[in-house]
């Protein structure tokens, strides 16, 4: 007979909670959203000892106050949902700070088990932690775990099950000093008048929070009968001062225990710190970063090449096979020319994206990227962007979809919105096929230089747009930069690969759905009305193009380009595929066909590339923008702004280019 247990997983950020969660739940995970907010909710299931266990991964927090959405979610879950047991993942190399959260958990009167994670790193440092004694002092079971190696998981689960089934639970609290304690007593007394509250929450906890000035609790109390008396008590005190005092007391309590359970070599300045001196050096910091970025892109482009060649050959062969062997002819064409070629054009860039994400994952997991964010904070601040915008911008070079999702780490809503709005100007990998085609065809040996110019242009537009938005639609100061610097470590292959996969799979999903759909739509519009020549001016695609043509004529684009751009709305990769259809050629001969077209010159090609670089995010990215901002207004703004900027700059570039290209 199975019984159900619910475990809430909590802990500070950067303690390996996610790794532990993955190790515990494996593939039986479900990712969703906490209602009403854009914070990710992960739950998983395990079967152990006849129990069916649900594990809920709460957001990582330093404490349980009402400052951020993450903390409120964690706290509300613990109070309202009343999980059977809470497992706090503690970083064994950072006990002091981690225990701060423990003191707050204890006050919630929930059963707690501590997973003393990263025990391997603590031991490697020469630290010795007396788990038994620590457990005694805290009155909480402490289990040694190493998430990355899967050690201690069984013991942890058993301890959790045991704790969940034991009752009653001892409320272990910190003494806040005579003055505060006296106030707490009066508050508890006042609160007891509110039966509702008393039933749902531990009164002492409520009192403590009121004393700290917790907005969330204050509003809860305000709705009930205890309100008046509580308000009068609170109005006579300075909440800020009490909060500081109480934080102090908590740390004091921790400091009293720590020396008795934790034996560690005194570490003044560690090697990690010394490396930081080099990496964050005033003059060398940014150059080192730029050099590493060059290395990342160089590696991405070169190592991806053989894979791309292999995929290309495979796709072409499959497409020809399909067209040749599938009856009836129209179906063969749909599958061969439409689906396989269309999707194939996208798959070719898969190695590119995955390798870039792998390198980024490696840099992130090693701890370097946190330092890079710190180094870039100052220049980003000058533009009006928060330092934490840095990592999402980097990811944007791979694909804007995971990049925009990565902006969740930015606390301020305004800063976050700003980052999301300028992110699409980071030239994602989807635009590469267009650059490669046109730069390759029209600029020959200079193609590399042209592509570099485009990437830089994207960055410049992002910078200017950020400044523009800051001074007009999104005024305000950039919020201050505070970020934890995890110690440097050599990431395991597994961790980095999984990290790469979680981002890269978003791109795959997009390719699998939207682009597939897009390829079929392109094919359909090009093949009908029935009997028309595939991709000619008489097909629906052609008619659509002629309709739009006047709008893009000043840029030098003809109807074929117009159609391709419209399809590019679905996914920028589709631009190349649709051009192939419209010019009636396969991938290889497309460049020749383009060169032969009298309407297209090197200048217009450049204008076209600029347009593709800048004009609105693709459907997938727009979907994420809507989801993350929750607003149609801003999503629409992103589209409109993108199109306007693209049109203007394409116009300028197209007309200025002939002056520069002639000599090159």
């Amino acid at each position: 007979m199975t019984r159900e247990i619910r475990i809430a997983l909590t802990g500070n950020p950067n303690v390996g909670k996610t790794t532990l969660f993955n190790a515990l739940t494996g593939s039986r995970q479900h990712v969703g959203n906490w209602p009403g907010v854009t914070v990710e909710k992960k739950t998983g299931r395990i079967n152990r000892n006849g129990y069916e266990i649900e594990v809920v991964d709460l957001p990582g927090t330093y404490s349980l106050t009402a400052y951020s959405a993450d903390e409120i979610i964690a706290r509300n879950f613990l109070l309202d949902e009343k999980p059977d047991v809470v497992v706090q993942v503690v970083d064994a190399t950072n006990l002091e700070r981690n225990l701060y959260l423990t003191t707050q958990l204890s006050e919630l009167r929930v059963p707690v088990v501590i997973a003393l994670n990263m025990a391997d790193m603590a031991e490697a440092q020469g630290d010795a932690i007396d788990r038994a004694r620590l457990s005694e002092f805290l009155e909480i079971p402490v289990v040694r775990t190493v998430g990355t190696r899967g050690e201690g998981l069984d013991t942890l689960l058993e301890a959790a099950i045991k704790e969940a089934k034991t009752s009653p639970h001892h409320e272990h609290t910190v003494g806040y000093g005579d003055d505060a304690e006296a106030k707490i007593v009066t508050l508890v007394d006042a609160l007891s008048a509110d039966r509702n509250l008393a039933k749902r929450y531990p009164l002492r906890w409520l009192a403590v929070k009121l004393l700290e000035g917790d907005e969330n609790v204050v509003s809860k109390v305000r709705e009930g009968p205890a309100s008046v008396r509580v308000q009068s008590i609170l109005s006579s005190i300075d909440a800020d001062e009490y909060e500081a005092v109480m934080a102090d007391k908590r740390y004091e309590a921790i400091a009293a225990i720590l020396p008795q359970v934790h034996r560690t070599d005194p570490k003044g300045t560690t090697f990690s710190d010394m490396v930081d001196r080099v990496v964050t050096n005033r003059y060398l910091g940014i150059p080192i970063f730029l050099a590493l970025m060059w290395g990342a892109f160089e590696l991405t482009f070169t190592v991806a090449t053989p894979f791309m060649t292999a995929i290309d050959t495979l796709v072409v062969w499959l497409a020809e096979l399909a067209v040749a062997s599938i009856e009836p002819a129209w179906l063969g064409s749909l599958i061969g020319d439409g689906i396989i070629s269309g999707v194939g054009a996208v798959l070719i860039f898969l190695p590119n994206i995955f390798i870039l994400f792998l390198i980024l994952a490696f840099l992130e997991d090693s701890g370097y990227l946190a330092r890079a964010a710190f180094i870039m904070d100052r220049p980003l601040y000058a533009i009006g962007l928060p330092g934490k915008a840095f990592i999402p911008m980097l990811i944007g070079f791979g694909c804007n979809v995971p990049a925009i999702m990565a902006t969740r780490s930015i606390e301020s809503e305004k800063d976050r919105l700003l980052t999301i709005l300028v992110n699409p100007f980071m030239s994602c990998s989807a635009r590469l096929p267009v650059y490669v085609l046109f730069a390759g065809a029209f600029f020959g040996a200079q193609a590399g230089g042209v592509m570099f110019f485009l990437y830089v242009l994207g960055i410049v537009v992002a910078i200017v747009s950020a400044k523009l938005f800051r001074s007009t639609v999104l005024p305000g100061d950039v919020s201050p930069f505070v970020m934890e610097m995890p110690p440097y470590r050599l990431p395991t292959a597994m961790t980095s690969l999984m990290h790469m996969w979680s981002r890269g799979s978003m791109y795959l999903r997009k390719a699998g759905t939207i682009i597939l759909l897009g390829a079929m739509v392109v094919w359909a519009l090009a093949s009908f009305p029935y009997g028309v020549e595939y991709g000619s001016a008489e097909s629906f695609a052609g008619m659509l193009g002629h309709l739009i043509e006047p709008l893009v004529a000043p840029l030098g684009f003809d109807w074929k380009v117009a159609v391709a751009l419209i399809f590019g709305f679905l996914a920028k990769e589709v631009v190349v595929g649709s051009l192939g259809v419209l010019y009636g050629t396969g991938e290889e001969t497309l460049s020749e066909a383009l060169l032969a077209d009298p309407g297209l010159s090197a200048a217009t090609a450049l204008a076209l590339m600029v347009f593709v670089l800048l004009y609105m995010p693709c459907v997938a990215a727009l979907g994420v923008i809507k989801k993350e901002t929750g607003s149609w207004k801003w999503t629409g703004f992103a589209v409109a702004y993108g199109i306007v900027v693209a049109w203007v700059l394409a116009f300028v570039v197209g007309h200025l280019a002939p002056f520069f290209i002639g000599g090159a």
Binding site: Y62, D240, D273, R277, D377, F481, V482, E484, M485
Partner: protein, 81 residues
């Protein structure tokens, strides 16, 4: 403890100090407490660059921009830049 207080941002690399006060908004203050920047906490500046710092508090390391480092006040007994 002497009455002299100065912002953390002004300290140079290698200096240690004790946190005295935090002059920031409520939310930031609470967050900093949770991270370890509590009155009487010992901090050490590891890297300093025109006000932006990487400091260690206990076993943890944090990067702070100049803006926030100016709001954390510490006792300036010795080693001030």
């Amino acid at each position: 403890m002497t009455g002299d207080l100065c912002p953390l941002a002004l300290l140079s690399a290698g200096t240690e100090a004790t946190v005295a006060d935090i002059r920031a908004g409520k939310g930031m203050q609470t967050r900093l407490f949770g991270m370890g920047f509590c009155p009487d906490a010992r901090v050490k500046v590891q890297c300093a660059n025109r006000g932006s710092l990487i400091v260690s508090v206990g076993d943890a390391r944090y990067a702070l921009s100049r803006g926030i480092a100016m709001k954390i006040l510490v006792g300036c007994a010795k080693g001030v830049a």
